[in-house]
């Protein structure tokens, strides 16, 4: 069974023979091929090289094409500050300056770096027909925050209609981006909305649920799969997130995996996560990562679970740590050994 089939099976909550593995490679792809984050995210060819190298090294079942939540914001007029080691940061918020929502238009297929992302998608689709390609779109609340700045938090109470209007626009942008990615060949639309981790369930249900549900419904109508990625501490909103009816929810390391498993499966959706990015994948040893990945595999189980990092991989994540996770995922014998043996004994195996 190839990666795409395995992912589809996990999304359908059918028991799998092996848990699928989706490393969230973003600018780490450039690290693997020796280009800085800024060069990487501006070039379809560099993205294809980085993802190809990741496929070669990490043998994934699925992979995001581009992990950058500033693509739509940049097209809509947010100024970016670029970094060599991470995705760019938004430094200006048009709707808090001189622009009105009526001044903004839904981005076109060839606008800004959308063209780069779609070109990379098409090339990767052709090269890897059996790999689940994830098209990542910026969630409406995070995009609204890019456009409005942190004023959005107070406007939730002081100007709710304005927030609704911006959310409506950002949802239309998200739906269009989903359409572009699906047309270019993606199998899964992952809506990444990390800023929803900063609000309470009631605010989420009032200002987020009605909008993001539309995006998931759209993806369902196209006969494709969807996922809600929420980086950050969003435990309070997991139930509300599941109620938006994505096909999958992927969570960060701050949320206990068993907590999400219980809620997601009860709601009939699959779930993923939540390898620790910093203390394990970035700073740990291959042994630490293997042990930690096994904990996730054992907690997640073989029904409806996809092993993935909590969020976008830090640029300089040591490849040997991700290879250690890869080796473990693909080798049930190694899993048994790690499960059984003491750490000290494992050193003799020289993994």
């Amino acid at each position: 069974m190839n990666g795409l089939e395995l992912i589809k099976k996990a999304f359908a909550l059918q028991e799998v023979e092996r848990v699928p593995w989706v490393p969230f490679v973003g600018v780490h792809g450039g690290f693997l091929t020796g280009v800085d984050a800024s060069t990487y995210l501006k070039s379809a060819d560099e993205i294809v090289k980085g993802i190809s190298k990741s496929v070669e090294e990490y043998n994934p079942d699925g992979i995001p094409v581009v992990f950058d939540l500033q693509v739509e914001a940049e097209v809509l007029g947010c100024e970016l500050r670029w970094s060599e080691t991470g995705p760019p940061a938004v430094v200006s918020h048009p709707l808090s300056e001189d622009k009105k929502i009526s001044d903004l238009e839904i981005p076109g297929v060839g606008d800004g770096r959308i063209a780069v992302c779609l070109d990379a998608t098409k090339q990767l689709r052709e090269k890897y027909p059996d790999l689940a390609l994830y098209g990542l779109i910026t969630g409406p609340f995070t995009l609204a925050l890019h456009l409005l700045g942190t004023d959005i938090f107070m406007k939730l109470f002081e100007a709710p209609e304005e927030v609704n209007e911006v959310m409506d626009f950002c949802t239309a942008v998200g739906q269009k981006m989903a359409e572009y990615y699906l047309d270019a060949g993606c199998d899964v639309i992952a809506m990444v909305d990390p800023m929803t981790s900063q609000i309470d369930p009631e605010t989420f249900e009032t200002f987020v649920t009605p909008f993001v549900s539309r995006i998931f419904e759209f993806v369902r109508e196209q006969g494709k799969l969807s996922s809600f990625f929420v980086c950050g501490h969003a435990q309070q909103n997991i139930e509300a997130i599941c109620n938006c009816r994505p096909d999958n929810v992927s969570i960060d390391e701050n949320i206990p995996l068993d907590f999400v498993k219980e809620i997601a499966l009860e709601k009939g959706i699959s779930f993923g996560g939540n390898l620790k990015l910093t203390v394990m994948l970035l700073m740990g040893t291959p042994d630490d990562c293997r042990e930690h990945a096994l904990e996730c595999l054992d907690l997640g189980g073989k029904t409806g679970f996809i092993l993935a990092p909590g969020c976008d991989l830090p640029c300089e994540t040591p490849p040997e740590n991700l290879k250690a996770v890869t080796g473990l995922v693909h080798d049930p014998y190694q899993q048994d050994v790690v499960r059984t043996l003491e750490k000290a004994e494992r050193i003799h195996f020289n993994w």
Binding site: G86, V91, T150, F153, M154, L156, I199, Q235, T278, C315
Partner: protein, 222 residues
């Protein structure tokens, strides 16, 4: 009198800025932090009492509720807005020295990192608990922290980072501060930061939430 101070605390806790503010809905039409602080001053309540028995009490409750996941960023920002509205009335008393601050806290998001929500929340909480806050902004380099430490003698300093890629700069900045001001107390915080990371880089304090930092700072001057 204490009833008035309790009402002020309540306005801070629930983010009631002034009478015209629609939030929170259950306090619609009532006086807010703005009117009540002015009223208290008019009635002869000392600015110090308004701060310690009204504003700080409300802010501490917000800090604890934030730690316990009972309120989130939007509610804390509304409380901070109510607080800063009240503080406008108290400003002259800070300038005259009638109201004493507990100390000075310098804060900035570290070099390479432009995120400021966490830093701003910490600033508001610390200020709302009676500290003078010197906010250096985002993308702050080691020498800027050092210069601020030299300008504000005996100040505590806080380093914020949201990204795994920028939190590594905390070590360099902590070392630079300790080299220049050996007795400096450096606190670190932000989403990816942990206490084990704090130990590794030789910083003095880590708190997982703003109220934890407030408690650390207060313990240092108690």
């Amino acid at each position: 009198m204490s009833e008035l101070l309790s009402k002020i605390a309540e306005c801070i806790e629930f983010g009631k800025i002034n009478k015209a503010a629609p939030y929170p809905p259950n306090m619609k039409g009532q006086d807010g932090a703005d009117e009540l602080t002015r009223q208290a001053l008019d009635e002869g309540v000392s600015a110090q009492r308004i701060l310690t028995e009204g504003l700080m009490v409300g802010m501490e409750k917000v800090g604890i509720k934030f730690r316990e996941n009972k309120v989130f960023v939007p509610q804390v920002l509304m409380s901070a807005k109510a607080m800063s509205t009240a503080m406008i009335h108290l400003k002259p008393f800070f300038l005259s020295g009638e109201v004493k601050e507990k100390g000075t806290f310098i804060i900035g998001t570290v070099e390479g990192d432009l995120h400021d929500i966490g830093k701003n929340l910490v600033s508001m909480m610390v200020e709302g608990n009676g500290w003078k806050v010197v906010d250096l902004g985002t993308d702050v380099k080691a020498d800027q922290f050092v210069a601020a430490m030299k300008e504000h003698q005996n100040a505590f300093v806080g380093l914020s980072a949201l990204l795994t890629t920028t939190m590594v700069n905390m070590e360099k900045i902590t070392n630079a501060i300790k080299d220049a001001v050996p007795e400096a107390k450096v606190a670190v915080g932000g989403a990816p930061v942990t206490d084990s990371f704090r130990q590794k880089i030789g910083a003095d304090a880590y708190a997982p939430d703003p109220q934890g930092l407030v408690e650390y700072l207060n313990s240092q001057v108690a």
